[in-house]
Symmetry: C2
Subunit: 144 residues, 2 copies
């Protein structure tokens, strides 16, 4: 049980996901592992609270549609079949760990920013994933 | 630059370091990478404050001697030569990142506990390493 058999790549679908894709691809080859990918959309109501004075459903639908297309493109690059592509609504750190558990992944690959701003947000995701993870976590440094 | 060439394994020298050793060994083989290891001893004066009403130097020396022997044993198992074995005094998270930078490691492998108690301490080390790391970090789940 020293090698990885099922790697879950968690992507935020920014340009920096390419770095993750390359690292995941190398790992997959090295371990001859199965590869799955996940993108978690945080519902706007969760991000901004439930009291936003406008209907966000259209915006939310657009976000979802765009994410669906981008995740498909990302997955194609890594030759990940549709059933192993996961688009989930919720809190990233909780959902990633939960999915890893569900699909019995033994390694989660996530990005870790070295910059400020959104980095702080993402860092908290990495932390969350790390602490709740049922398996090993590889934090790939992106956007330095 | 998608593969790892120099892996730094940070060990706490507990029984659980064996899990880390096995994972690091597999990674080394997969990437044909160079392997270095480090153990950081937190000075007792740092851990307990400078106002401890007794001389801790003898205890500190014993800790250092024991750590030196254990680190050598750990390194032998992984066929790591003496010059790539590092025993450092300081705060683990700072020293590990600093060493990784110094030896140009492109992957740090650390343990991440799933239990309470000392786990919380060690988790903060993982966090510290993660946030200051000049490279990717693999958090290996140990002691579940």
């Amino acid at each position: 049980m020293n090698e990885y058999t099922h790697i879950l790549v968690a992507v935020d679908l920014t340009e920096e996901s390419r770095v993750l894709a390359k690292k995941a691809c190398a790992l997959q080859k090295a371990y001859e592992a199965k590869l799955s990918c996940v993108h978690v959309i945080e519902p706007l109501s969760l991000t901004y609270g439930v009291d936003v004075p406008m209907d966000l459903s259209t915006v939310q639908e657009q976000i979802q549609e765009t994410a669906k297309i981008q995740l498909r493109e990302f997955a194609m690059e890594l030759e990940i079949v549709t059933t192993d592509q996961h688009l989930i609504f919720g809190r990233p750190e909780t959902e990633i760990d939960s999915l890893a558990n569900q699909i019995a992944a033994d390694l989660i690959v996530v990005g870790s920013h070295g910059r400020h701003g959104i980095a702080l947000l993402f860092r908290s995701t990495v932390n969350g994933v790390l602490h709740g993870a049922p398996c090993d976590v590889l934090a790939v440094r992106v956007g330095i």
